[in-house]
């Protein structure tokens, strides 16, 4: 019995002009859908970055109005924090790392012509666009946008009278629901495509690591989001029809939400981390001209970390009032997760050993990721230790921790992938000098912004406060807030070279060759940019793993996956 669900596609029909709407809007082409996710993600990155800027200004100079925005009251501040977190995690990190790279890379790297279910894929991005619209609208309705933190803890989020936000909160939940639906559709597609549509010869252990990471991330998402959806339904019912799932007076329990949220929330941070790790793992060997170190063990580590991530969630709840007997078991599993990640980070570093390292822009970002993520991972251990977290929880130390992990994933990991695959995506080359300036400025000002936050966190500064000067013990440390804010403004400004670079390249950049970096994986055997259905009449056939750089078998220092070797061909 054969599957005939995937349609028989006629190439002629697709060579013909397909018109603006079919090409750019209602496209079922995985590459276009990837670009659509990328554009939406970039749009939200601008919004999220500007919100962060307003927030930081308020923190440094709480008594002054923010230029171009005005006075920020405490209500507005809570909206800013909430929407900044929500946007950055769900509307920047997810669409860029999972949506854009997942869609663009999976079919191209496994040798498929498209996703297994192209129309479902189109639906996915459109549902995501709808989610974006809902979230955007929530800023402009009476009462304003959600303001209960990106974690939305009830009872604060469950009743309008506690925050003054009415519809904004409902739209926030709705936007999440749509976003989850979008990524469920996308996720089913990714997993099915990679399981069922690999080209002959592409065994599981010849897959590029980024595919493994994307698949693990998707699996984590699919298996963790269910309880949160259940929790969100309960929250919505509490809000609109007066059930009492989270209200103690009606027999409910506020802690329930925290368990359901973090059961999803911790896997979710790896949903963001793993694709970034994958992008970096695929960039490093290309520019070190050396195979990745310990390919199989990296896969095992990834799967181990993914499995562990389901039994660590209560580390976000050490001081939440949960049963104190739960703390140490969860503390142990949490700290244990450093073992697989230690392996992966060491393997990245070992890949550099005895390499022949080129410092092109993608490589710089990848290296930046390695360095910055190690800092963020190590600070995770402080949080992970239950007794230490008593003091650290809900302080800026945690804020510093998760910007070193999240920001390094989205920005450093993301840009590594972006600069690396840009020629394939758009068929143009980016300017190397501008890319390098972008990198160095971002690296420096990222650290200026976020490193001091560790210190002020250790000094005790709480998260989500609108005015640190209201606390006497924080007044002497206020200079740190000023440093971080100035750093943050320069960090935002550091993105200008990036915008210039992309616009200039798209308008007047040099045409990209098929394989500008001398890389091995299959996407580089397709034209830049690949046409609809990716390859011509014949698909490439795979003979070996993805990282055969400087192999002694050939004279060149690379050996593409699809090249036959007379000596080796069987």
């Amino acid at each position: 019995m054969r599957e005939s669900g995937a349609a028989v596609l006629d190439v002629h029909a697709h060579h013909a002009e397909r018109g603006f709407w079919r090409t750019y809007v209602f496209s079922t082409d995985h590459k276009m859908i990837g670009k659509q996710y990328l554009s939406l993600g970039l749009f939200w990155a601008v919004v999220g970055g500007l919100l962060a800027h307003v927030m930081r200004w308020q923190l440094a100079w709480p008594e002054t109005a923010v230029p171009g925005w005005g006075e920020v009251g405490p209500e507005t501040y809570n909206v800013l924090v909430t929407m900044h977190g929500t946007i950055m995690v769900f509307f920047v990190a997810m669409p860029i790392l999972l949506g854009a790279f997942g869609n663009f890379l999976i079919p191209l790297m496994i040798g498929a012509r498209d996703m297994a279910f192209p129309r479902l894929n189109m639906l996915s991005v459109w549902v995501f666009a709808l989610a974006s619209l809902v979230l955007l609208v929530s800023f402009f309705i009476p009462g304003g946008a959600a303001s209960a933190g990106w974690t939305g803890y009830p009872p604060l989020s469950a009743k309008a009278e506690y925050t003054g936000v009415n519809w904004g909160m409902d739209l926030w939940i709705l936007a999440h629901a749509l976003e989850f639906a979008a990524f469920l559709m996308g996720g089913v597609n990714y997993l099915t495509t990679a399981i069922a549509l690999r080209v002959p010869g592409m065994t599981f252990f010849r897959l590029p690591l980024v595919i493994w990471q994307l698949l693990t991330a998707t699996t984590l998402f699919l298996l963790s989001v269910g309880p949160l959806i259940a929790g969100a339904v309960m929250l919505l019912l509490d809000r609109i029809i007066g059930t009492h799932f989270y209200a103690a007076e009606g027999g409910g329990d506020p802690l329930l939400w925290q368990h359901l949220f973090w059961f999803f929330g911790h896997p979710e941070v790896y949903v963001i981390l793993l694709p970034a790790v994958g992008l970096v793992l695929d960039v490093l060997p290309v520019f070190a001209r050396k195979p990745i170190f310990g390919y199989r063990w990296i896969i095992y580590s990834t799967i181990a970390a993914g499995g562990l991530s389901f039994i660590v969630w209560a580390h976000h709840m050490f001081v939440s009032g949960m049963d104190p007997r739960l703390a140490m078991p969860f503390s142990i599993t949490t700290i244990l997760i450093s073992v697989p990640f230690a392996f992966i980070m060491f393997a990245m570093i070992a890949t550099l050993w005895k390499g022949s390292i080129r410092f092109d822009t993608p490589m710089l970002w990848a290296l930046g990721f390695v360095a910055m993520f190690i800092v963020g991972g190590l600070t995770g251990i402080f949080n992970g230790s239950a007794p230490a977290d008593i003091y650290i929880s809900d302080t800026y130390f945690v804020v510093a921790h998760f910007h070193y992990t999240l920001f390094s994933s989205v920005v450093f990991g993301g840009f590594a992938g972006f600069y690396f695959w840009f020629p394939k995506m758009f068929g143009r080359l980016l300017s190397e000098p501008l890319g390098k300036i972008h990198f160095w400025l971002t690296l420096v000002f990222f650290n200026v912004t976020f490193f001091p936050l560790h210190n002020i966190g250790l000094a005790g500064m709480m998260r989500r406060i609108a005015n640190p000067l209201e606390y006497e013990f924080l007044v002497p440390h206020q200079w740190i807030n000023v440093v971080a804010t100035v750093g943050g403004m320069l960090l935002l400004a550091s993105q200008i070279p990036f915008v210039v670079n992309v616009v200039w390249s798209l308008l007047a950049g040099k045409t990209a060759p098929k394989n500008p970096w001398g890389a091995n994986t299959l996407e580089w055997t397709a034209p830049s940019p690949p046409p609809h259905l990716n390859w011509g009449e014949t698909l490439p056939v795979v003979y070996r793993g993805a990282y055969e750089y400087s192999s002694p078998e050939v004279a060149e220092d690379w050996l593409p996956q699809d090249r036959t070797l007379a000596a080796r061909s069987r």
Binding site: M1, L223, P227, L256, M322
Partner: protein, 91 residues
């Protein structure tokens, strides 16, 4: 499916109905509530297994599909266990 032989769907249905009646009967069991509850859920699990294995053809699927079906069930069981201290023991 034809290549695997086909389960006797009607007979399975018979079993399902029988188990359902058993479960119902158990709920009227006098005395020890624990035994009744155990019986009720044992029949439910049996029914679910019958449907999954035969009607959903899990019996004939490769290991991969098995894993996709079983891993989430394990996660749910683990979630239940982990929620016990907070919602059963300390309320």
């Amino acid at each position: 499916m034809a290549s695997h032989g086909r389960p006797n769907y009607v007979a399975i249905w018979g079993w399902l109905v029988a188990l359902m009646i058993l479960g119902l009967a158990a709920s009227f069991l006098p005395g020890a509530r624990g035994l009744a509850v155990a019986l009720i859920f044992a029949t439910a699990v049996a029914k679910a297994l019958l449907v999954a294995l035969n009607y959903m053809h899990l019996k004939f699927e490769p290991r991969l599909i098995y894993a996709i079906a079983i891993v989430p069930v394990l996660f749910v069981l683990m979630l239940i266990v982990a929620l016990f201290p907070d919602f059963v023991f300390s309320r």
